[in-house]
């Protein structure tokens, strides 16, 4: 196997911190990874993890609970970067919001700072379940960056296995 013919690709989108863009982010990442021949499960895994990360950026990073609040606030932007290196997919979700005081604590299942919002506190736990690697960098007052990696399996005998 030649190492140097690994396919590389890069895409970056920036959107308003507004709950309707959660669906948009999922569609973008789905489109991006289509060429990597993911299985339905891999596709759903990445979509779920991205949904969690983007939702966190919106409601925790920027504290936006209603779509209208984001209107006109040009600072409230969520940035999503998709990187492909062969069958390795990396998705980076970044916000310039309030940041996380204690990342270790935030990553605990069922931990939530907004119990009144009927959130489950499973956001980070889901990202960890559905992705292979999750890294969180956060700085109070500056923002949070979540880097998630997943290795998409290669279909061994592509030509024969289909039908």
């Amino acid at each position: 196997m030649e190492k140097n013919n690994r396919l590389k690709n890069y895409a970056k989108v920036s959107f308003d911190a507004c709950s309707m863009n959660e669906g948009f982010a999922r569609m973008v990442v789905m489109g991006f990874m289509m060429d990597m021949n993911p299985t339905m499960d891999e596709l759903q895994d990445v979509k779920t993890a991205v949904s969690e990360a983007v939702t966190n950026a919106i409601i925790h990073g920027y504290g936006v609970s209603d779509c209208g609040e984001a209107n006109g606030q040009e600072a409230a932007q969520v940035e999503m970067t998709c990187l492909r290196d062969g069958q390795k997919l990396t998705v980076i979700v970044e916000d310039k919001g309030v940041g996380i005081v204690n990342v270790e604590e935030a990553r605990q299942p069922f931990f939530t700072t907004k119990p009144d919002m009927e959130r489950s506190g499973m956001g980070f736990a889901f990202m960890e379940t559905f992705m292979d690697e999750v890294e969180v960098y956060s700085s109070v007052g500056e923002g949070t960056r979540v880097t998630m990696t997943k290795y998409i399996a290669i279909e061994e005998f592509e030509e024969e296995s289909e039908q």
Partner: protein, 107 residues
Amino acid sequence: MEKKYEKKYEVRGHVLTYQMPKEVDHHVAQQLCRELDMLVEAFAVQELELDFEKTEFMDSSGIGVVIGRSKTMQFRGGKFSASHLSRRVSMIFQSAGLQKIVEVKEA
């Protein structure tokens, strides 16, 4: 109101069956909670069933919806169930231990 999600529900006596949307994320969860609470109140519902037949995507926001409604129904002394879980939704339910608080009806 968005047309993307066609919402349907059925009330029979004090039993409310609610068709969950195609995608259950934070965006729809907010409206969903409000709507479900309003319906439960309006029809004096004693038995709530969430039907996931059309649900293709659900993230942790859906867990919040289920936990919240479970509390509501518990408070009212009623029954609470979920039906037609896809393999994916079922996996999400199990990862949060939801089967302990909601009766999952097998298809």
